[in-house]
């Protein structure tokens, strides 16, 4: 009974931390658009805190530059369990246009931390980001919460 109640509450309150690990900012702008009244992220119970310590979902944008390799691992370690990692845009998935010959990016992000959701696009539409967060986060959070007990 308590578990089901916890699940319901957790599913409708997702805290998000947005990390740009070396991209062009395009995807971050799309996330900001998500916060605007037009898409209104908070009506789904998703809050952007930009603080890994209280995040359930870590949104990653950007094609992992050299300096971000260590930091991204640290940020991932700081987020409390249960946590979900969602990659926004193509950069964390493949490096996209930055992954040229002789380039210095360390994509994909999945080399360093486990990734739960991938949202491709350059940038993806806000609705796609929202869809992906809602598809993966509530279930994963609820399930992982139970695992621990």
């Amino acid at each position: 009974m308590l578990n089901t109640l916890k699940d319901i509450v957790r599913k409708s309150s997702i805290h998000v931390c947005l990390i740009n690990c070396g991209g062009c900012n395009g995807c971050d702008v799309e996330v900001v658009a998500l916060l605007s009244p037009r898409y209104d992220l908070e009506q789904y119970g998703i809050y952007v805190h930009n603080n890994p310590r209280e995040a359930d979902v870590i949104l990653i944008t950007g094609a992992v530059t050299e300096q971000w390799i260590k930091k991204i691992k640290r940020i991932y370690a700081k987020a409390p369990e249960p946590k979900v990692v969602a990659c926004i845009g193509n950069c964390p998935l493949s490096g996209d246009v930055f992954n040229q010959e002789g380039g210095n990016v360390h994509a994909p992000v999945s080399d360093f931390i486990p990734v739960d959701a991938e949202i491709s696009g350059c940038p993806p539409r806000p609705s796609e980001i929202l869809e992906a967060i809602l598809a993966v986060a509530p279930g994963a959070i609820a399930a992982r919460g139970r695992e621990k007990e």
Partner: protein, 341 residues
Amino acid sequence: MSSVIWYLYEFARKTWVEGFADAKSKPDIAEKPERFRDFPEVVKELCIGCGACTLSCPSPHAIKLVREEDSEESEGLVYPVINNRACIRCGFCAEVCPTEPKALRCGENHLIREEFNIIPSKRQYLVDDFLCIKCKKCMKSCPVDAIEEIDNKIHVNQSKCIVCGDCLEACPVKGAMKGVFIDNLEDQKAVIRLVVNTLEKFIESKEEELQELPLNKLLKLELPLSEIWDKAIAILPDEEIAFEIMENATDRLKINIITWDDSKCTQCRLCVDECPTGAISYNKENNTVKRDSDKCLRCSNCYQTCPFCVVRYFVAKFLLEEVDGEWKILITLKESQLVNS
């Protein structure tokens, strides 16, 4: 407590409940609007494997050209595979795809819209820089100032040109300003080939007359246009284009004709080594020298080499003209003045 009562009162209002129950997001928030490009779709069967898409793609890992394994009946298909994890949906690949219809599609693409095209016309006006004398008469005649001088070269700005044809009339040099037909280039080539081949066959059928032609005399022949016309129209149905192509082709055409008189040949074989394509061969058994007209370039090396006048070399020129209400190709043949004069 009072606030709880206020909330209960507020939420119980009919308009609020109705609004809450009917709340919907606008369709363009949830779905992709029509004007947006999506990831490209590949139609394998249409792909010609030219690789233009991979070349135009700004993202290094987005497009791979793959080839399917060959089966016993047919060769494997070559087609691009789009990696959605790297594709940036710029639509360049769909834009450059040369097949008709396109093998790569990604929804609406602003750069291939019809409105951006120049005035629809069969012709495009071009300046032949080799023939142009830079008199600038065309520049003065142009009503829209589409003709410019760049780097001492006259140039037609196609985005301004309204295809009126005034420049063509103003040009004092024949062929310096051209009204080129831009569509069906392959058909145009086929018509030119048809004209040249028919004329060559026609002249070679008159070889006996040529043999008897004395030096410094002209041989005049006529070929009615109607003999070629039907075939040409079958290739290129537009009569205006077909006629102009044939007129231009005959006007500039110069065909060299080689005649070979075996009776004078002494089998000296001087010409055999001289021939650049090996078209002349010596047959030991029959003791004959033979020329293969399919290999022959009509370069006249054999004619200049032969000491016995076995080979004769003629130059044919052509003119398309209306004679007594019938269009005819007039042919004048003249022995070349290379050596004997």
